[in-house]
């Protein structure tokens, strides 16, 4: 199963389960906002999306990930709008039979997300200025 959501408030983690009989690995990734952006201290990041295209690209990547790796479920929530330092901007859960394919799928999914999904960060600096972030680590 694939679930992809773009949300504009705190990310609610996907519900875990103790009742999976064939899924031996549950991988959880949370991406969080760091205090320093490009060497400058920030207060908040503001995530901007290309509405419609960002979600479509996330779904495409989830489908490609499932084709490439034998995983059962990919759940993803990406936050947009203002996200404070320390808060989660991305939450991904992948369920698979074994850990190896789950770990590989998680790596692939996140690398592709960072290459293709039209979402951008604006840094809100301590002095209140808002500038496009130059940070695009793969």
């Amino acid at each position: 199963m694939i679930i992809v959501e773009i949300v504009d408030s705190d990310i609610e983690p996907f519900v875990s389960s103790n009742n999976q009989k064939e899924k031996g690995a549950e991988l959880i990734f949370n991406g969080r906002v760091r205090e320093t952006e490009h060497g400058k201290k920030i207060k908040t990041l503001e995530y901007e999306q290309y509405e419609g295209m960002a979600k479509k690209e996330l779904i495409n990547i989830a489908r490609e990930t499932k084709k490439r790796f034998p995983v059962d479920d990919i759940f993803c929530r990406h936050r947009i709008g203002k996200v404070k330092v320390g808060e989660a901007s991305l939450h991904v859960v992948i369920w698979s039979k074994h850990r190896k394919e789950g770990l590989e799928a998680m790596t692939f999914f996140i690398i592709e997300l960072k290459k293709r999904v039209p979402i951008w960060k604006w840094a809100i600096l301590k002095d209140g200025k808002k500038i496009p972030s130059k940070c695009n680590h793969e």
Partner: protein
């Protein structure tokens, strides 16, 4: 003439101070010609910005001809996650 919409994000939005700009272009204008025009209008503010292209919310990799009513976005390096 054709009428199109340019969607602006991140550094493109910063360069123009707008999230959307309408243009009237000659029929047959290609993406590369339009990109050159947009970069010139940005007066140097997009010189060091590499950009992918999306038409109607779909990435394209060729030098497509822009059609009447298209929504074009020059996509600066993305930063999700």
């Amino acid at each position: 003439m054709i009428k199109i919409k340019l969607k602006c994000f991140s550094q493109v939005k910063y360069a123009f101070g707008k999230s959307e700009i309408s243009y009237e272009l000659k029929e047959g204008t290609t993406i590369k010609e339009f990109e050159k025009m947009v970069r010139e209008k940005a007066k140097g503010r997009l010189d060091d910005v590499s950009m992918s292209v999306a038409i109607n919310k779909q990435y394209i990799s060729n030098n497509a001809e822009i059609k009447d009513g298209d929504e074009v976005a020059f996509i600066p390096p993305v930063q999700g996650g």
